[in-house]
Symmetry: C3
Subunit: 140 residues, 3 copies
Amino acid sequence: MSWYQHTFRLPSFKRGFHLITHLIESNVAEIQKVGIGLAHVFIHHTSAGLTLNENADPTVRVDFESHFNKMVPENAPYYRHTYEGSDDMPAHIKASLLGSSVTIPISNGRLNLGTWQGVYLCEHRNHASGRRITVTVQGE
Amino acid sequence: MSWYQHTFRLPSFKRGFHLITHLIESNVAEIQKVGIGLAHVFIHHTSAGLTLNENADPTVRVDFESHFNKMVPENAPYYRHTYEGSDDMPAHIKASLLGSSVTIPISNGRLNLGTWQGVYLCEHRNHASGRRITVTVQGE
Amino acid sequence: MSWYQHTFRLPSFKRGFHLITHLIESNVAEIQKVGIGLAHVFIHHTSAGLTLNENADPTVRVDFESHFNKMVPENAPYYRHTYEGSDDMPAHIKASLLGSSVTIPISNGRLNLGTWQGVYLCEHRNHASGRRITVTVQGE
């Protein structure tokens, strides 16, 4: 049984949905040492999230951005938390809808994702710095 | 400390929300060997999800389907990812809203769910094959 | 490698979003014994949820309540599960949108949350009793 934990900062991404599977794998080489286990990927922020979705066609990620902007609009008349900009309160709500972490099985030294699954960074702010991520790997 | 991991395919379900707690339990007998632990249930797809919700009245699951179809409609004018059918892009968005995995405490050899909690397969495609699931159990 | 698991009941909270990070920490002192690990916080109910979000300005939590009430309204004409009150079916849907658990890295004896992250109880019923929570801590 082994535990590995790495905290690192992603590069800065523009508002939208972005594939970061390769950045998880390159920052956490110990995944390769685990036969059966789990990888927990966590984002230390409240205006960006993580999710798993389609890793091939970039229009899926464009449609995510369009839909979340409609489902959680800016400048809703009922928002009271407005002093950090019109993108801030929607960013908080989107972050909770999508979640702050994903947990992925590890099998035979690899993230055991489906063929079409990738890890998305869900960046909801217009001008965010690189987001801080902690990956915790455990297994045997 | 023990680890168990099983991958299996669910039967094919029609579009909608379906209770699958019993299929998790029957495919992962080792849950009974764990006094304190966790079960991580993961779906290897991007157009279906997993969630926990009410396990008794089937109308709850019918209302889930009605509400998600309204909240994430087909044929939204802003969708660009349309070539896999009108049910495809909404399926991706619903999958991320609900999530690709659930993690459940294990206590005294049982999934420690609330009285009214069950595991739902959230099937968002009209004609899907049986979905692939990996359950990872760890504990002592 | 150690496992700790505690089940406890939160005080009764009114409908809305409430910071409960301190109640997790005070009920699970063993977090302090873990150098690298994970804390899994689970709610045994289907009409309340858990999420991570902004821990400072209370208007964020007020805006969550406003937005979720609009996104998942009471008395939608398509609801069939209505006999437990107009707040019941929306509560089930909100619970699945937000999720039944959060998993948080533990580093050096502390929940390794971001500066602005706190654990929210998402209470969706008008008159709920104290909710039952199980926290499972593992690590080394």
